[in-house]
């Protein structure tokens, strides 16, 4: 099950590999050493934050501003954590801590879209991303002069396309389509006008509130807890 999750991320390597390389090149060009470049990928493990922080760290900009930007870019993971804790209510404390450390948009999306309610699948997806991101950070840090610009190649499109390909199959009811449409429109209007990261959180909360409100007459979904009960009995 771990390897099933691990393999489920692999199509995304098409975007992850060039971006890990590009991040490393950006960081090295900004004056960070190989150790510092790699440390960000191991310890922070957040693509967009690493990209925005690397030039600032190299220039010795006030650390507080960098930490605040990083927080805004990543605060949406709070919502992912709640969602995973709801799908996998029987996780041990250790699993919660390790799962949280390696949690990303891609691992969360792949896990939710798969419909597999198994921690090992989720963790396999997490590790698949961590290993590829770090391996190619190292390659990029060592061979920084040979790496082409991923934006010029257009491989940055891999990320919205993969989220789209994960999103479409989970849209089943009319209300789910409606929430997706509303959130898209809200993102189009709000995200460019708010600090990066914050807009995604605001739209995420607004869209989810709309969904919860539109489904207020539906019976409470008990599918997850029933399956867990069945597993415990077995």
């Amino acid at each position: 099950m771990f390897w099933k999750g691990f393999r489920a991320i692999m199509p995304l390597y098409l975007g992850i590999i060039p971006f890990a390389l590009a991040y490393a090149v950006t960081a090295r060009a900004a004056g960070l050493g190989i150790l510092e470049t790699q440390a960000l990928s191991v310890l922070v493990f957040a693509g967009a934050s690493q990209f925005s922080a690397a030039p600032l760290l190299g220039a010795g900009v006030n650390g507080f501003a960098i930490v605040l930007t990083t927080f805004l870019l990543n605060v949406r993971h709070l919502l992912y954590g709640i969602s995973i804790a709801r799908v996998l209510p029987n996780m041990t404390l250790r699993q919660r801590i390790f799962g949280a450390y390696f949690l990303t948009d891609e691992a969360f999306g792949t896990f939710i879209a798969s419909g597999v309610k198994d921690y090992r699948f989720f963790f396999g997806a997490c590790i698949s991303l961590f290993v590829s991101w770090n391996a190619f950070t190292l390659v990029g840090a060592l061979a920084s002069s040979l790496v082409p610009d991923p934006v010029a190649l257009g491989v940055d499109l891999v990320f919205p396309l993969s989220f789209l390909a994960l999103l479409i199959p989970i849209l089943k009811t009319r209300i789910e389509w409606l929430v997706a449409g509303f959130s898209s429109l809200a993102a189009f209007l709000l995200v460019p006008r708010l600090p990066s990261g914050l807009g995604i959180l605001v739209v995420g909360v607004l869209g989810s509130l709309l969904g919860a409100w539109l489904t207020k007459d539906e019976p409470v979904q008990t599918q997850v807890s029933l399956e867990d009960a069945a597993r415990e009995v077995a």
Binding site: P11, S83, L157, L164, A180, A187
Partner: protein, 99 residues
């Protein structure tokens, strides 16, 4: 030393955001159970739309790639088919002389 202090701060806010939700063990009230069900839908829509146009004036080929990706993901429910078809469509469209 300032570098490592800043990295420690970045680690604290990323890991903190990731961990806070994962630690939730108390059952949620029904409204928030339904809220959580819509989180992936709303957040993914918010991640897709602003990054679709790109920064290089290739909005049209990128949107065509996205439509292709969406249709194939809908028909096949396979991430890799949607993703590869979308990227292929985008690369073909951006290299057509009329675009």
């Amino acid at each position: 030393m300032n570098f490592w202090l800043t990295v420690l701060g970045m680690l604290a806010v990323t890991f903190g955001s990731r961990l806070a939700g994962m630690l939730l063990t108390t059952p949620l009230p029904p409204f928030w159970v339904r809220f959580v069900r819509f989180v992936p839908i709303a957040v993914f829509a918010a991640l897709i739309i602003p990054s679709l146009e790109g920064t290089r004036g290739e909005g049209l080929p990128r949107v065509i790639g996205a439509v292709l990706c969406g249709v194939l993901a809908w028909r096949t429910k396979q991430l890799w088919i949607g993703l590869f078809a979308g990227m292929l469509g985008f690369w073909i469209m951006r290299n057509l002389p009329l675009m």
